[in-house]
Symmetry: C2
Subunit: 351 residues, 2 copies
């Protein structure tokens, strides 16, 4: 029995409606298990730019810092996508949040649901047994290294930089995750070209003997991009840098057939952030069409991280049962199609 | 009727046996069309390390520079893969060759063969109409930028750097390629994070009005990695930087179902280099099992580049006919399985 303050950043597009389903589910878990979740709302992304001029207002950041966890919807609006040189952009809010809160590890599980293999772009036999966790470094590398212009603007550069400290802490997360799963950890890098990759490999090699039960391996990123398509079942935990992680976690995520199913967590020293991996889908907003399951499973990851693993399992089981019964939103092409809100209700009932 | 000097760098593993098939085919084209191809052989890769200590001996480089084109097999040996910190590595030969010869544009066409859709990891309906050309920048970016260590080795960095000149010349190649194909050109980058990507976009925007017949678009690399799996038929020409191109061209290449089918060219100011995209497959070497088609189609790209487009078409048609007749090497899981040499002979006969 506990009290938890959840900073709730619903964001743009379908963000608010999927977050609403997550809240319903968390409240039901609270009732069943005797916890109290308090949801404090704050703007982020395009919504926050409209309201305050900033994609991450100071009040929002302050709220996050004093909360037990952050429950995040989605951000982004086409208005900004058509203008990549806009100086204020929704994504900046996300990048600042990651950096300010030290959310250095992004965890993205991808598993196929047997009922849903027909949704995968891959042939069904290739999806058998797929259960991947991508552990992406989230506050270093090319994203936050020195970048700029020279030669009067005619030369541009970005720096991918990693320190031992940054690499060690993300590898600890990855080794720990592998220990709780299939006990296989693969470092994906470009060590035949990049010096930063060579440092990752060095440190991985140093740390490996401390985890004798984990089978450690290495793969170049170009090969990993192929292997994810040819034979995704070979992977257990993949650990990689920020930029490769961005690419590979997205590539992995489409294998399951619907982005609407996949949760994520971003964790670090203290507070964690939990969000569906899908975007803000502005065209679908307010239409009761979005799949709330990714958000609901993100709520389950939040509970795990708060130490409430039994409660997290209750959510996952309710989602499995609901999917197995053949209901779903339109993206799942289900036997019985329902809207966002109704699917949320069914999962609440199943808990 | 012409005389052409071809620097022939067969390399490691199956390199020599697939190159041999390419030579047979080129000699047949020479007979039919009245050209004379002279093949000068030189070592590269692990083979060259064994013979001379260097993966790209000076004599090999000199031969390349005085030839009309470079016909390249494959390089790499497991002995080096298990030791990523080895200071002399086969890949260095390849990187040096690209840089020294100014081979700044790597062209990788990927198309599905109707007879072979069953080989694709994707569902057959997703492969319909897939015909992609990835144009990868090959002599800049993270591969050749400043890299090194600081803090007594505990911090490592790589720099992705691009100048206007480097971007303009690869975009010219990409626009020209799009003009000869489906007239759609997509720049793939990470302009929401990387300054170098923003320079690519700026220059693409500047150049676009000069090619009014080309439909220009932009996509972030994480999204491109997803879209290649979900809906590869949406792409025509993709142009991207060296590192993203490494990843995306490999991801694209597995869609067709066999790496053994896919050719590539690396071109620049003068001499071009033509090679199958597959690796050296050391385990398969000397066993008459390798698929020679990627190499034979690379020979066709070489002829195109030498201005012999009709001759190149003759090779492509012979390959198509041969595949349509149901023969192939084991990787194609064909109706009638043959070895490397026999498949080469059948294609020679079909010319
Ligand atoms: C919006 C963008 C900056 C962000 C990233 O690249 O990290 C997104 O793609 C993600 O993966 O969360
Ligand atoms: C061997 C390696 C350095 C090379 C590259 O990354 O360019 C290879 O992957 C390729 O794509 O030709």
């Amino acid at each position: 029995m506990g009290n938890y303050n959840i900073a709730t950043l619903a964001g743009d597009g379908i963000g608010p409606e999927v977050i609403k389903q997550g809240i319903k589910v968390l409240n039901q878990v609270g009732l069943n298990f005797g916890h109290k979740f308090r949801f404090d709302f704050a703007p982020v992304g395009a919504t926050a730019i409209d309201q305050t001029g900033s994609p991450l207002p100071d009040d929002t950041l302050a709220l996050c810092k004093r909360s037990d966890a952050i429950f995040f919807g989605a951000i982004g609006h086409p208005r900004f996508d058509n203008d990549p040189t806009a100086t204020v952009r929704p994504e900046q809010g996300l990048l600042k949040l990651r950096k300010e809160l030290g959310l250095y590890a992004n965890l993205r599980p991808v598993a196929g649901y047997d009922e849903l293999t027909h949704l995968s772009p891959l042939r069904p036999e290739r999806m058998k047994g797929v259960d991947i966790l991508v552990v992406r470094e989230l506050t270093g590398g090319t994203y936050f290294g020195d970048k700029g212009r020279r030669d009067g603007g005619d030369t541009a550069y970005d720096t991918c930089v990693y320190s031992r400290h940054e690499i060690e802490r993300i590898l600890v997360v990855a080794f720990d995750a592998a220990a709780k799963r299939g006990k296989k950890l693969k470092l994906v890098d470009k060590a035949n070209v990049m010096e930063s990759s060579r440092l990752w490999r060095e440190i991985m090699r140093e740390m490996a003997p401390r985890y004798p039960e984990i089978e450690v391996s290495y793969m170049f990123v170009d090969n990993a991009a192929m292997q994810l398509i040819i034979n995704p079942a070979q992977f257990d935990v993949i650990v990689t840098d920020n930029l490769f992680g961005d690419i590979l976690s997205d590539a992995s995520s489409v294998l399951a057939g619907s982005l609407g199913l996949l949760p994520s967590s971003s964790i670090g020293a203290e507070i964690g952030m939990f969000e569906p991996i899908h975007g803000s889908w502005p065209e679908g907003a307010g239409q009761d069409r979005a799949n709330p399951i990714a958000t609901i499973l993100s709520a389950a990851m939040m509970l795990d991280h708060l130490g409430l693993v039994e409660e997290g399992d209750a959510i996952r089981q309710a989602v499995n049962e609901t999917l197995a019964s053949g209901v779903g939103t339109e993206d799942l092409n289900p036997k019985k199609q329902v809207g966002t809100d109704a699917l949320g209700d069914l999962i609440v009932e199943a808990i």
